[in-house]
């Protein structure tokens, strides 16, 4: 397989909430092992993009293709079976279950065994918390648990939504390493992020959104000098 064959293609994706156009013709592509940053001011439609790609919302128009096949209309669990997974801007672990049980839930379908769950817990520095109720974790730990839950499902495409927010510099550094390791294993990563310094550790390729529309695609360095991008960020 050629390295450039896209795993994910998003074509002219649109989503309205009532009269409000949250996503307006978004187009992007992502290859296995590639990391793409998705940035833009608050309310520009980044989370909505993840929600539509992952099947939480259905699109009004446009297509989401995985391996060149349309997955529009598939329910969430079918997309998870095909290898799409994600984390949430506000983490959504199973709060009444323990950390270990949170991963066991995800292991049912993927058939990850105890050893894999153990490795995943180590990888995300959750091993000492394995018996704790997820509700008792702090926000950074809950984000890592969200990520662990996604990894146990063996994703090929991982959509992460502001994993950096609220982390201290040491945690940010570790999270960047974690995501880089995941991408190196061949997983395609779509990274929604406000912290551009953190994003720079992961990739140089970004799509910049404003008002549901893509206003820039290219390298982070060029984006930082693009007048439209600067205006949008300073204005928003």
């Amino acid at each position: 397989m050629s390295p450039s064959a896209p795993l994910l293609s998003v074509e002219r994706l649109s989503k309205r909430f009532g009269a409000f156009q949250a996503l307006d013709g978004l187009t992007l592509e992502l290859a296995p092992g590639e990391v793409l940053g998705l940035v833009g001011p608050n309310g520009s439609g980044k989370t909505t993009a993840i929600n539509v790609i992952s099947g939480v919302y259905s699109a009004d128009a446009g297509m989401v293709l995985l391996d060149g096949r349309s997955i529009g209309g598939l329910p969430i669990h079918r997309r998870a079976h095909l290898g799409i997974n994600r984390t949430f801007q506000v983490p959504k672990p199973f709060k009444g279950l323990t950390v270990g049980e949170n991963l066991e839930v995800a292991a049912v379908y993927s058939r990850a065994d105890r050893a894999e769950i153990g490795k995943c817990l180590e990888f995300l520095e959750l091993a000492p918390l394995v018996g704790r109720e997820a509700a008792s974790l702090n926000s950074a730990q809950q984000k890592r648990l969200d990520l662990a839950r996604a990894l146990i499902a063996r994703p090929r495409l991982l959509l992460v939504d502001e994993l950096g927010a609220g982390l201290n510099p040491v945690e940010l550094q570790r999270m960047a390493q974690t995501l880089t390791t995941i991408a190196r294993s061949g997983v395609a990563l779509l990274v929604v992020e406000h912290l551009l310094g953190f994003l720079r550790e992961l990739t140089s390729r970004v799509v910049v959104m404003d008002a549901g529309r893509e206003i820039f695609e290219g390298s982070l360095e060029v984006a930082a000098r693009d007048q439209q991008v600067i205006d949008v960020f300073l204005g928003g």
Partner: protein
């Protein structure tokens, strides 16, 4: 033995042996019936978060399904119970779209649905089929000993279901769905299918309890098997004890139904008062039920 297994065996043996030393068999029978219903509520509410106020609809559907199988098809009582359970499951399948609703909407819609079933069954135009408002008499198959023994078996089945859910992937998946349905989807769980399975399982338990109740009392009116109080009792017992555990609904039922028989039958107005106070205290101080007290003192609750 799986978690809660021995505990269940103990409860079943208790109800199997108590009639030999304790004379109030009606109390024992009703207690078992509520244990089954409370566990049925537990399966649905404890493991998926849906609170079915109309749960009694499945109980009534089972009672009528079993009775009509006896009266019209001349089945023996025990096979007829399975017809009753099948009728309840069928009703649950028809009502499965209600699971699209959430929270209070679901609770109220399920209540309305059970009223609809009640009106159909008690409709005077259906006298030739259901006896309408005149009720059912199963005098020819009346057998208090056999029906009691059957309820012991139904209780064992209900406890087995909850022990299974407490120890299985399915139970874990259901709890995950209750906690965070979207994340459950990303864990690969077919959320809609699992919810429907729990709904049908819960309906089947109520149907079995209803059919066995019909056989045991052998004469009843539609009002008595579609009595909303049955739902309310089963729900309060379950919540009082603590949901999503095996032990919670058992403790809740034994204590509160015991209390009901102690003061409720002689002085129903005091019972209403006590019952009301218990509910308020529960909501205020023990939202997770009695089992949360046990957990607080580090007792492991199966």
């Amino acid at each position: 033995m799986p978690r809660g297994g021995w505990y269940s065996v103990g409860v079943v043996l208790l109800f199997a042996l108590l009639p030999f030393v304790y004379g109030n068999h009606a109390l024992l029978f009703n207690m078992m019936m509520y244990l089954v219903l409370a566990q049925g509520i537990n399966v649905l509410f404890g493991f998926t978060g849906y609170l079915p106020f109309g749960y009694v609809g499945f109980f009534g559907a089972g009672a009528y399904g079993a009775s009509l199988a006896i009266l019209l098809v001349h089945l023996p009582p025990v096979p007829a119970l399975f017809v009753g359970a099948a009728v309840s499951v069928l009703v649950a399948l028809l009502l499965a779209p209600l699971l699209r609703l959430s929270g209070a909407y679901f609770a109220i819609a399920s209540l309305a649905a059970s009223e609809v079933v009640y009106y159909i069954v008690s409709n005077p135009h259906l006298v030739s089929l259901t006896q309408g408002p005149y009720g059912i008499s199963l005098a020819q198959v009346y057998n208090s000993g056999a029906s009691y023994a059957t309820m012991v078996v139904v209780l064992a089945m209900a406890l087995a279901v909850v022990v299974y859910l407490r120890n299985s992937h399915m139970g874990l998946a259901l709890q995950a769905i209750r906690e965070e349905p979207i994340s459950a989807g990303f864990a690969g769980i077919n959320v809609v299918r699992e919810r429907i399975r729990a709904w049908l399982l819960s309906a089947a338990l109520a149907g079995l309890a209803g059919g066995t109740y019909a056989w045991h009392v052998s004469v009843f009116y539609p009002k008595s098997v579609f009595d909303l109080n049955i739902s309310v009792f089963a729900i309060v017992f379950t919540l009082f004890g603590g949901v999503a555990t095996l032990v919670g609904p058992i403790m809740g039922t034994l204590l509160l139904y015991g209390l009901y028989n102690w003061i409720g039958i002689s002085q129903p107005e005091y019972f209403q008062l006590v019952f009301g106070i218990v509910i308020v205290l529960l909501v205020l101080f023990l939202p997770n039920g009695l089992v949360s007290l046990l957990r607080r003192v580090k007792i492991h609750v199966p």
